[in-house]
């Protein structure tokens, strides 16, 4: 490597590190603060001490979190709800995008435009009519062998999942990604006698790794962070997701250290998921698809 190249790559690394510092400091602050008593968090706030583990450091806040919030239960709920939303969402949305992108379906332009239009409706404005609406929907429950029927989806897991499965953003992302996969791959498969679903499953989806990873991460986030909706539709504590837990700390006297500890705890699963999924960004068309 010659000097110029070396210099350049060192420069790039420096920029990378600079970005990393800017991006990371709140997390550092959160983790550090979760180890401090409230008064010290505020005392350290306007100096660099806010980012350093100095002073009175302990895990007391973490212990206290579990006295206040059924954190484990909330965590399990959120993992379950988010996982199902992600998995079913990937399937439903990629399937829809596949048809819209790679098949000559009559009327697909209108459908696609209509789907994109749903991106614009902010959830806050939808929330109240939606609460009323889900309470009108029929609810089935398998009780032993008999099917029980009742009205209203309030206070269930499904009300936290089903309304959010179809997602215009995921469809859009898949659609744009599918557009960049050469269509003659489909043609070849068709000649080999493959049906459309087979093409979807065995030709296109395996090449869409980065898109799937992106959709997985980006649908997991809102599912994990959902807050306003469960607040309005879930009454039982045993069904609540993690974000509602944060509100448990805002009493007349706020325990900021516990807020930080809880926030740290609930950030961990998202980071783990991200680390797991981002490996598929490497798994691109560039390395496997076109040639295979």
């Amino acid at each position: 490597m010659n000097n110029q190249l070396l210099l350049r790559s060192a420069g790039t690394m420096l920029v990378r590190i600079l970005f990393a510092v800017v991006a990371a400091f709140p997390i550092v602050f959160m983790l550090i603060s979760s180890l401090k008593p409230d008064q010290q968090i505020f005392g350290d706030m306007s100096s660099v001490a806010a980012f350093l583990p100095i002073g009175n450091i302990s895990f007391d806040n973490y212990a206290a979190v579990f006295d206040r919030v059924p954190a484990a239960r909330f965590m399990i709920n959120s993992i379950g709800v988010s996982a199902v939303t992600v998995v079913l969402g990937i399937f439903i949305n990629s399937l829809c995008a596949f048809a819209l992108s790679r098949m000559e379906v009559r009327g697909k332009r209108i459908v696609f435009s209509a789907i994109l239009a749903t991106l614009i409706v902010p959830f806050q404005t939808l929330a109240l009519p939606l609460v009323w609406w889900v309470n009108q929907l029929p609810y089935f429950e398998l009780d032993g062998f008999s099917l029980e029927f009742s009205k209203g989806w309030l206070d269930t897991y499904q009300v936290q999942i089903i309304p959010f499965l179809a997602n215009a953003f995921s469809i859009y992302l898949y659609h744009q990604y599918f557009e960049s996969i050469p269509k003659e791959l489909d043609e070849a498969a068709r000649i080999d006698g493959a049906g459309w679903f087979k093409i979807y499953r065995q030709v296109v989806m395996p090449l869409a790794g980065p898109a799937t990873a992106t959709v997985a991460i980006l649908t997991f986030l809102p599912a994990w962070n959902s807050y306003l909706w469960p607040l309005m539709v879930v009454q039982s504590e045993e069904l609540r997701p993690v974000m509602i837990g944060i509100q448990y700390f805002f009493q007349l006297n706020v325990s900021w250290g516990e807020v930080m500890a809880y926030a740290s705890l609930i950030t961990v699963p998202v980071v783990i998921l991200f680390i797991a999924f981002q490996k598929s960004f490497i798994n691109s068309i560039a390395s496997s698809g076109v040639k295979g």
């Binding site: 399937l95 239009a117 109240l128 179809a166 953003f169 050469p182």
Partner: protein, 322 residues
């Protein structure tokens, strides 16, 4: 919203694709498998379409319908049809126009800056190098950090005696006296903008990254063999290769920017003096806090139409010219 024409293929595919028409409108004459394609196609679209119909369209129409009534969140009084009263009130409300101005300001800055920064971040961590996973994770952290924590920290940093002003004063050797960022009508919106970009850039970085990964490595190899500089590689390989991703990022950033709400709700509540209020913030304030459901619905409807127009114009301007 209109659709861009079906995009062209990657270069190496063009020849093969020439045999097959790229536009659906030319398929007037049913060809073999046409019916089967229609049935499977609609079958694949149906689950998502039905769900969106049930859980977005229906409640949205329900909500928009309320805009023409006097419905309240909590009220024993019967709901009456009042025509366009709510809209008349809305268009004469100076706060609404201020909100519109603020949102425009926000979008005009955030859309280009955030998409460019996100692309830069994606480029920095696109290729494999030692520690790439570490950097990717770090860059993504702001997106996953709880808004409660983010707002708490930034509110402290933005205070007059906060960290940002201390840094400013240190690095300018005391020349720059920082503002009381969130409390000054002139600086509150820029402060919200900086925070928003910081928090959301990682989100769009992920989208760019997926797009970058769809560009064939062979194209870069070919370019390098031709002795193309880094800039030329970006200009003639990367940038055209991101065509589809570009429109995705542009549309979603614009919609997100126009729908600004969370940061404002947590940090400034629209103040000081309406300098950070937004259309959605006003809708939520009217609908939830002030119980004026119908007025909030009117705001939402106007917002929807506005964003629809902006997106249509955007897609028209960025349409691919054949």
């Amino acid at each position: 919203m209109t659709l861009s024409p079906l995009p062209t293929r990657p270069p190496e595919a063009i020849a093969a694709a020439a045999k097959q028409s790229s536009s659906p409108t030319r398929h007037r004459r049913p060809r073999p498998g046409f019916l089967r394609e229609q049935i499977s196609g609609w079958g694949m679209i149906a689950p998502a379409a039905v769900l969106l119909l049930l859980f977005v369209f229906l409640p949205a129409i329900l909500g928009f319908g309320l805009a023409f009534t006097n419905a309240r969140l909590i009220s024993p009084r019967p709901v009456e049809f009042v025509g366009t009263d709510n809209f008349a009130r809305l268009f004469t409300d100076p706060t609404f126009w201020r909100a519109l101005l603020n949102v425009t300001y926000f979008a005009v800055v955030v859309v280009p800056v955030q998409s460019a920064l996100a692309l830069a971040m994606a480029l920095l961590i696109n290729k494999k190098f030692r520690g790439v996973n570490f950097f990717r994770t770090i860059y993504f952290l702001p997106v996953v950090t709880s808004m409660v924590v983010v707002s708490l920290l930034w509110m402290f940093m933005y205070r007059r005696e906060g960290l940002i002003n201390q840094l400013l004063s240190t690095f300018s050797f005391g020349l720059i006296q920082g503002a009381d960022w969130l409390n000054d009508p002139a600086t509150a919106m820029p402060a919200i903008i900086a925070l928003s970009i910081w928090q959301a850039a990682g989100f769009h970085m992920i989208i760019w990254l997926a797009g970058l990964q769809s560009i064939s490595g062979e194209l870069y190899e070919a370019a390098q063999l031709d002795g193309a500089s880094r800039w030329h590689q970006f200009r003639y390989v990367t940038w055209p290769g991101l065509k589809h991703t570009r429109s995705l990022v542009l549309v979603t950033i614009t919609i997100q920017a126009l729908g600004l709400f969370d940061q404002v709700s947590v940090m400034t509540q629209g103040g000081p003096l309406d300098s950070t209020t937004t259309i959605i913030y006003e809708a939520v304030r009217s609908g939830f806090k002030q119980q004026e459901t119908s007025y909030a619905s009117a705001i939402s409807l106007v917002f929807f139409v506005l964003v629809l127009l902006v997106s249509a114009v955007q897609r028209y301007l960025t349409r691919e010219k054949d």
